[in-house]
Symmetry: C2
Subunit: 376 residues, 2 copies
Amino acid sequence: MILELTGSITNRIFFSGESMDKSAIPTPALLIDIEKVDDNIAQMANFFQHTTAHLRPHFKTHKCLPLAQKQIAAGAIGMTCAKLGEAEILVSAGISSIFIANEIVDPSKINRLAALARQTELIVAADDPGNLCGLAKAAQAAGSVIHVLVEVNVGLNRCGVAPGVAALDLARLTAELPGLHFAGLFGYEGHTQFITDIEQRCHKTESAMHELTSTADLIRQAGLAVGIVSAGGTGTFNISGVFPGITEIEAGSYLFMDSKYQEMGLPFRQSISLLSTVISTPTPQRAVIDAGMKAISLDNGLPKVISPGFVALRALHEEHGLLEVDLQAPALKVGDRVELVPSHVCTTVNLHDQYYVMRDDKVETVWPIEGRGKFQ
Amino acid sequence: MILELTGSITNRIFFSGESMDKSAIPTPALLIDIEKVDDNIAQMANFFQHTTAHLRPHFKTHKCLPLAQKQIAAGAIGMTCAKLGEAEILVSAGISSIFIANEIVDPSKINRLAALARQTELIVAADDPGNLCGLAKAAQAAGSVIHVLVEVNVGLNRCGVAPGVAALDLARLTAELPGLHFAGLFGYEGHTQFITDIEQRCHKTESAMHELTSTADLIRQAGLAVGIVSAGGTGTFNISGVFPGITEIEAGSYLFMDSKYQEMGLPFRQSISLLSTVISTPTPQRAVIDAGMKAISLDNGLPKVISPGFVALRALHEEHGLLEVDLQAPALKVGDRVELVPSHVCTTVNLHDQYYVMRDDKVETVWPIEGRGKFQ
């Protein structure tokens, strides 16, 4: 093991040859098991070899270019992302065909978007006539074409126009505006991702997909081509992904999984974890780790301990995690390592600057999380 | 207004002369009102001009060097921080006398700590004999002196030994070990910061401070000097800060405040906010902003809307906030700005790379949040 800390300020780790022992990783640290990640990528790619729909995985989960490149190499037709700043990162790395699954409305952002559209096929969601006019004007000025998916509310009740005529009206406007290309529809069934009962999840997802695809049919009947009908997430990839008329799925979390998605009966492996260190053992039953809510997220509930098996996380403070130790088990000592599985992978990744890429319990390399903080 | 985006990838903003209009800030963005920040710094500095205790403000809240330098210039005796990586940032900026209010236990981190102690007065918390031996060995090898505050559990039930003899034992061990200097005691009354009833807050805080100062007295009776007795936070600065025998207070949040600390009847102004943009208005009653839990934290509950006055935040998704609009009020339009006050300032700052420093509603400058992510 040769570990060299180059510069106390950056805290970045570089390797000089050999791999680093897990025990030498400074904590808190986000670990990914690259064999399990590769398995998840292969599993998902294999699924989409047998469907008419394609996979356009979501960058918002991992925010990491080498992982996006792995997904593309396995057959993904491009990337989805949440923010313009993320799209810029992807394009800068030469990844083409990017869908920003969000409305971009600020004049300065629209100008950046139009400029970026000169470099790749750039697709954006829209649900407002004024926004469409702004996009068109900027694309014309930039000499680019912005591809637009009209966002349809399929039951999540967040963004998007109602299915049916409202979507048709926006599709027509998009098709008429110079600088824009009406590329199709987008409807995210976020409200069905975490229905634990599989029959219920199927039923509600299919209802949502029916709303979306029948809106696509309505638009086609009006004489417009609907190339893309985009939906889906990790919890519904195998429902929406085989629904007739759906052409793209935007799953992200399948790559890593988390304790909430683990309850959904999905065929993916838990490949990400947070490594922490016991910094205090004030009583035989209480131990404190150096990872709090600034290192692992809490919005889906408390993370779970993977190892050792005889401890449970009872509370997360800002900089600390409080463990309860089983009195029948061996005592935890100061310096012991504790590994946790995030309850929400996306908001946990969002707290970190790098992945420790593990193979056979050794650090093979460190990958920067280039998209972190690029939410503007 | 001259705004120039230099490089689409970094998203960093630089100014060429004049200040930038608030309306031109890309969102989501963390704004600080520098006049209110300066007021809060002056208010706190003024308080500690009339006490025997000193202020050693906590870097974990703002993680920003210009703000630390303002606090020092106003009379703070040094900085507190939570992590070794934060201490390294502070020392690199020439800020001296740093207290890491946490146990540092990893061998590689202890070596970094001992090296850093060559450059400044470095104080660290400890509550374990084995850890003290490790610190001593590293300090000797590095030719430095590590100053140690023995951490005492004053009721928070996180880290720290029990008050009384257990603390005395660790103090003696610290004093005996070469390379270490027994500097005093540290006890954080985190369990009393948010007691809304002021009498109750006083009573419980004073009980905790009594535990801490009587332990200091016990150690003095055993013949050891106790230079520092460190405690306090924003919710208790004016209780612990005047308690006889307390020498240092580590408040952090007073600089910015948040909606939770606003309930505590403190003399500080709300000086931080999150600026967001309405990206969708799907129904007259629902609007969606471009800030979700990746841009503003949720662990103290939903953030509150500052402006406009006729909307309320109803939910935070990962990348979106869902607003309910009062039907009697003017409609929100796509592109409108919505400003929020964080419910927990520390975990919100932890999501951002920069502050937009506002004066008279214009951006005066942008400060990087150098300490973000430096939790290793």
